[in-house]
Amino acid sequence: MEITVTINGSDHASDVEPRTLLVDHIRRTVGLTGTHVGCDTTSCGACTVLMDGKPVKACTVLAAQADGAEVTTVEGLKTADGLHPIQSAFTDDHGLQCGFCTPGMMLVGASFIAENPDPSDDEVRWAISGNLCRCTGYMNIVKAIQTAAARVAESSNGS
């Protein structure tokens, strides 16, 4: 079937099998491999992308369901102004080790701080509880998301 998905601002028209998962579409058809697959039960969140601004697990969405939608993947976080604050915060606070969970964590984090500019430790933990990390023990991921929130707040106060 014919679908058009806007990924990171560019339209991608393709003919897909109805059963194609969005994550496979993004990785294999469109060729953006920053979105990962870590499980087969919608448990890990490594495949998280933003669909019309909301985080979804792309392993549990059909490509067909994304027809007409705006999708943001990790490759779309950076803008002409440079890295997204969540990206620099993950580096500064050592929020990643192997980096496999990182795209999903950052996308959930980015959409979360857009709605909650000053989150507590518990709020961040709850927000990312659909995403697994096997390396970091989460402490630095939580810290990075809080740092990013603070930086966003600071720059919008300043402007």
Partner: protein, 783 residues
């Protein structure tokens, strides 16, 4: 902690330098196995046994072959025609690549489909009919060793029962004497349950064998690419120079990516026969049901103690559940890994351990899951025993430890099982952690809470780990000595490339190993590129697992950098017209002793190495070192956990977790702390929720992330980290391994905390995972 000796812009040892690997990973530009695409790649899917034990009477795959897009169906018979139906394991057993005679565990590889598309390959699996004849499954090692138990390994010549191995260590006579003198014997029987490392990225391979040249380029999620190349050469009979293993970015390993799995062999053989690249990436279910599990030891420990709380001796009896094939990934001479460290941090003269392994109808494995070969089990047992001994003797568990610690002046200390601990100050570590947590106050609060019917527990674990395998006189895997290497070249512009035999899976080698060079030569860490994982482009080494990278590969890096420093001094002497002995090198400046204005930089030296050398000196600034460690390194730590247990439900919550680690010199404190937080989380996971179990038919319970519970951010406790820094005396930069300390040390602290909350009721054991219903039952039974 020791202050760094280089300025921040150089970023030598002791600086929390930002990680170089992050830039690509935060932009989605990492290069993980499944991200690699080659033209004409075929995709493989594996048909796995639904049964734990059954005879295969026939396989009909004609319908699968007929499916559009299917290129080949591979069965055990086909593999057998090429002599590849079985493969050797790392522990000297053989393992079925694709089953020919029987299936011996649920999830075992039975057939493989190669197709043009991964969806089609999976579709075709449904079309394969296997005629199975049920056999009785054996799901515990106890059943397995009973008289008359069905023989699991009936194909194995000379195998008449299900016993895999027996092993013992220590001095039995001396231990019996110690027990004869004891005032009391404290006994603990417990099971360290089967667990799975479950890195977030599963295992996979992309095999690209050129059928004309025979060149095999194998992209593989490998923690040990060089060892894997050699093993591929040995198993498949391919000439080793034609095999190139490339281990790309790896999404966590934790031991899971050490073994060679059947899927790798099938994909490589298929690529060779078909003449096209073949990719296979495990699903999570495949990962959890078939690849390298860890632990699964039934342990009985007995501690001989005096009424004053002195430990006199230790006796351990163990039975391990090996699954259907003995494929433990561990040094050849060690049947139960480095379990010898079960004597822990304590000074006592006698210990004896005996252990048996049994085949069962379960997945094989026995990997060192974030652990230096069974040390996790050993450390858990002794720390649980010491805590229980304190209750029996009637002294405080912290005091019990302080009375028995090996003292700082006793190092190097030879344990009752013959390991020589290199360095440590255990009393300072424990006292520092006790003070931080406010131990005395906590004990008071605990007593007050009890009076109100609330249950608070304080658990301590003071572990000692043995990492950095290992000295060539003792350590090898499949005959390959466990040395490791580093090759360093400084280019004319003063920038450098460092090539390693070890391989990062998230530990940050690209940063920390550059820091070691920066420390020695003064070349900024950011000017040093670290290459690893590609066997054509790096020197030989046994890989990254068992916390061996810093102890062995890090040592090689320091030594090779020093070799270059020596040459740099010679060149400096030539340039400065001074005597070589008078040249001093600090932070990248080489100057004449006593006249600091006469100096050149390391960058000047680099240029001179290719342009202006003393007479007779060879050009270039480059060398390679193979490092054979004189001993293991022995990191340690004091962990204290505070929990509150709900007496009505058995649910427990961690209130505090204070973790003091001493891993010697810390190359990058930020990265060390990251490793510790990750390790503590995995320790918490095993103690609280994470286990692989089976029903009586041998069905794996824990085959996906709905059943195999790994903690999310929500359950994971917050950690308070502390450090002391007693250097390793024999490591070139005083460092010890650290990646696994926290996983090794923390389970006992968590479990001890829960036990401590209910110890006054007489509870002395709850097996891991300490699930609420188990806690509730223990309370119920005791009261």
């Amino acid at each position: 902690m020791a202050a760094p000796t280089t300025p921040a812009e150089i970023g030598g040892i002791g600086h929390s330098v930002q990680r170089k690997e992050d830039a690509r990973l935060i932009e989605g530009q990492g290069n993980f196995l499944d991200d690699i695409e080659l033209p004409n790649t075929l995709h493989m899917a594996i048909l796995r046994s639904p049964l734990a034990h059954a005879r295969i009477n026939g396989i009909d795959f004609s319908a699968a072959t007929d499916l559009d897009g299917v290129v080949a169906v591979v069965t055990g018979d086909l593999m057998d025609q090429h002599g590849l139906a079985w493969m050797p394991t790392l522990s000297g057993d053989t393992q079925a690549v694709l089953a020919t005679d029987k299936v011996r565990y649920q999830g075992q590889e039975v057939a493989a489909v190669i197709a043009t598309d991964p969806y089609i390959a999976t579709d075709a699996l449904e079309l394969i009919e296997v005629d199975y004849e049920d056999l009785p499954p054996i799901t515990t090692p106890q059943q397995s060793l009973e008289d008359g138990a069905a023989l699991i390994r009936d194909e194995k010549e000379g195998q008449t029962d299900n016993l895999v191995y027996t092993w013992e260590t220590g001095d039995k006579g001396a231990t019996e004497e110690a027990f004869a003198q004891a005032d009391r014997v404290v006994t603990l029987e417990t099971h360290y349950p089967r667990s799975h490392p479950a890195p977030l990225e599963t295992c996979g391979i992309l095999a690209d064998v050129n059928s004309v040249t025979g060149q095999a380029t194998i992209y593989m999620t490998s923690q040990a690419p060089h060892a894997h190349r050699t093993l591929f050469a040995m198993v498949a009979g391919l000439p080793e120079q034609n095999i190139r293993i490339v281990s790309p970015d790896i999404g966590g390993g934790f031991g899971n990516k050490v073994p060679i799995y059947p899927g790798y062999v099938v994909a490589t053989a298929a690529s060779l026969l078909i003449g096209q690249p073949v990719k296979w990436v495990e699903s999570r279910t495949e990962n959890l049901i078939s690849t390298g599990f860890a632990r699964d030891y039934y342990m009985k420990g007995e501690l001989a103690v005096t009424d004053e709380g002195r430990i006199l001796g230790l006796r351990v009896n163990m039975l391990s559940d090996q699954g259907a094939f003995y494929s433990d990934a561990q040094p050849t001479q060690f049947r139960a890994g480095l379990f010898h460290v079960v004597t822990g941090s304590y000074d006592f003269p006698a210990a004896h351990i005996d252990c048996k392994g049994a085949f069962t109808n379960k997945a094989p494995g026995g990997v060192a899951y974030r652990c230096s070969f069974r040390i996790t089990e050993a450390s858990y047992l002794i720390e649980r025993l010491v805590q229980n001994a304190a209750y029996e003797v009637g002294i405080d568990p912290a005091e019990m430890r302080l009375r028995n610690f090996i003292q700082p002046e006793q190092f190097p200390y030879e344990t009752a099982t013959g390991f020589v601990y290199d360095s440590g100050d255990y009393p300072t570590a424990l006292r520092t952690a006790l003070e931080e947590v406010g131990y005395e106050d906590l004990r008071r609060e605990q007593a007050e809470a009890r009076a109100e019917g609330r249950l608070i527990g304080i658990g301590i674990a003071h572990f000692t780990e043995a990492v950095g395998a290992g000295p060539s006189h003792t350590y090898d895997i499949a005959g390959l000595k466990m040395i490791d290497s580093a090759e360093l070249r400084v280019h004319p512009t003063g920038k450098a490339i460092l090539k390693l035999g070890v391989k990062t899976q998230g530990q940050g080698h690209e940063t920390t190993f550059a820091q070691i060079v920066a420390e020695v030569l003064g070349i900024p860490a950011n000017d040093i590129k670290v290459e690893h994982g590609d066997t054509d482009h790096t020197p030989y080494g046994l890989g990254t697992y068992a916390s061996r990278s810093t102890p062995v590969g890090g040592a090689a890096t320091a030594v090779v950098a020093r070799k270059l420093a020596d040459k740099a001094k010679k060149i400096a002497a030539h340039l400065l017209e001074a005597a070589e002995e008078d040249i001093e090198l600090a932070s990248g400046v080489l100057s004449v002793a006593g006249s600091p204005d006469r100096s050149v930089t390391i960058q000047d030296i680099a240029l001179a190495a290719y342009t202006n050398l003393p007479e007779g000196m060879e050009y270039g600034l480059e060398d390679v070192t193979y490092y054979d460690p004189p001993n293991l390194t022995y990191p340690y730590g004091s962990y204290i956990v505070v929990v509150e247990v709900d007496p009505d439900t058995g649910v427990w919550q961690v209130q505090r977790m204070v973790a003091l680690d001493d891993c010697g010199v810390r190359i990058n404190p930020m990265i060390v702390e990251g490793q510790i937080c990750g390790g503590l989380t995995e320790g918490f996971a095993m103690s609280a929720m994470q286990w692989i179990t089976f029903d009586d038919d041998g069905n794996c319970i824990g085959a996906n992330f709905m059943d195999y519970l790994v903690p999310t951010a929500w359950e994971t406790p917050r950690f308070e980290l502390l450090a002391t820094e007693v250097p390793s005396p024999h490591h070139p930069i005083g460092a010890k391994g650290v990646g696994e300390s926290a996983t090794v040390g923390s389970p006992a602290a968590f479990v001890n905390a829960v036990i401590d909350a209910v110890a006054h009721l007489g509870v002395r054991n709850i097996d891991m995972p300490v699930l609420p219903d188990r806690v509730w039952a223990a309370i119920d039974e005791a009261s």
